[in-house]
Symmetry: C2
Subunit: 260 residues, 2 copies
DNA sequence: CCAAAAGTGTTCAACGTACACCCATGT
DNA sequence: ACATGGGTGTACGTTGAACACTTTTGG
């Protein structure tokens, strides 16, 4: 007798199914009003008010409702916790080790999300919710520390071949502003000249005819994204790198323009 | 009142949790004894024997047992279906749309796996299990067609920066054999000369002092992998690209698994 | 005028690709 | 001898990093 095929009857009732979300934003202050020179990645955590791990901080999340999709659950967690709507949302991974939670068996499907810097700053949080800098997290409950690390890795990775930086900026932005986002996320300095050329030739961004004045230097041209926000809620192979092979290979089939 | 933090109480009992596996192997025959010139990707499917989708083919899988980890569930599905052990196993994605299954609500955590070509050939399958070429699948139940497409994309993607081709080859192999694997998976011809150099400089592979004779041509040197099998069962950021930066900063650019 | 960021140009090394060519074996 | 794949050499175009240099504003 072999196992039956996938969607099937009902699961063992002992296995709980939860959805959690790692929410990122970019902030330039230190949380007390002082302004850092470089912005950094921040994320909201929820203080647990029961066992296990009572008192520790944890990722916002909760059980999956029977009538909500996975992304909806992640999104609604986010809104309930921060009163914000995600500008980007993507599934991260399903964590299901047997010993994640001391007593019960819980599988957590984790999403990661980006929210706007400006909006995040204005938000008032509940009593048991606080923003923390990603590089100075308190002790976390469960395996949430690993989850955050993995989400950070994914964020940094993704930044390099997509326009998720969109989520941190307004409708229009200067290339310096965009570069600062990249520098904050990747935590390294980028050559302004090379960065400019890379972005301009990526096709993700479009010149406007406006300038941003005000700095005590030459005004900077404003740009806008060519496409609206990315919401990869269905994992589709297409990566739309918009690259065309210069010389060769009519590789028969629609050789997907995949990344790695 | 806000949603509580992650691993938590119990889920709505209406939501089922299943684990399915997309199993790939490489075969050179057409299923009837004739030998194709180029091997292709094949995968086993299970014929459903009940509603919904009775009679259609589906991915092997089943409900998650309370005492098994996600990877164990995927692995055991694989063994039950094909009597094989996976040489590679990785989580693909969690599919949880509301309308995946007509009546009930089921979330499927899907894994993808590779099994050895030689082993797969020797295996006898049960009555309701059959291998199909990935490019000629029958109509599939549920959203399994999309899932397979996504898994294929991931396989092709991953082939280029890891040594998962390991799974299709023996302990030692010639560079031609390795190239044939790549050509079969990527479905395009590769320049033997350039392929050789790329692989040799990748550090993933090591020369032996043995040769493979027998062809009516110059004997080919045998190689072996520098590392054993990859089993990324914890999604760790480190990709171990083992690349040495020639001049400047260790910019270890790596590509992410997962979609656009 | 000076500081500072915006924006352009140039050089160089690394890398992928195409392709010519030699090597060693079985028949 | 010759066909066939194993294996080496090389030239060229693209890309990315480094960095010199010009431009335009505010003070």
């Amino acid at each position: 007798m072999q196992r039956s095929t996938t969607p099937v009857e009902q699961t063992d009732p002992q296995v709980g199914l939860a959805v959690s979300t790692v929410i990122f934003t970019l902030r330039a202050d230190d949380g007390f009003g002082a302004t850092d020179p470089q912005p950094g990645i921040w994320l909201p955590l929820v203080r647990r008010i029961r066992e296990p791990y009572d008192g520790l901080w944890a990722l916002p999340g909760g059980p999956l409702g029977a009538a909500e999709s996975l992304a909806d659950a992640a999104s609604s967690t986010l809104e309930t916790t921060t009163s914000l709507r995600p500008r980007y949302l993507e599934q991260l991974y399903a964590f299901g080790d047997l010993d994640r939670s001391p007593a019960e068996r819980v599988v957590s499907i984790v999403y990661w999300a980006l929210v706007g810097s400006d909006e995040a700053k204005r938000t008032r949080l509940g009593q048991n919710v606080r923003w923390f800098p990603a590089d100075a997290l308190p002790p976390l409950a469960f395996d949430h520390r690993d989850i955050v690390e993995y989400a950070l890795w994914r964020l940094r990775n993704k930044l390099e071949y997509s326009h998720i930086a969109h989520a941190f900026l307004g409708e229009t932005f200067t290339l310096s502003e965009l570069r600062e986002v990249h520098e904050a996320v990747l935590q390294k300095q980028l050559d302004p000249a090379n960065f400019r050329r890379q972005v301009e030739s990526s096709g993700l961004v479009l010149q406007t005819d406006e300038l941003r004045t005000g700095g005590r230097h030459r005004p900077a041209r404003l740009y806008r994204w060519t496409q609206p926000v990315t919401r990869p809620e269905t994992p589709s192979p297409g990566r739309s790198t918009s690259r065309r092979p210069t010389t060769s290979t009519p590789t028969t089939r629609q050789q997907s323009e995949e990344p790695a």
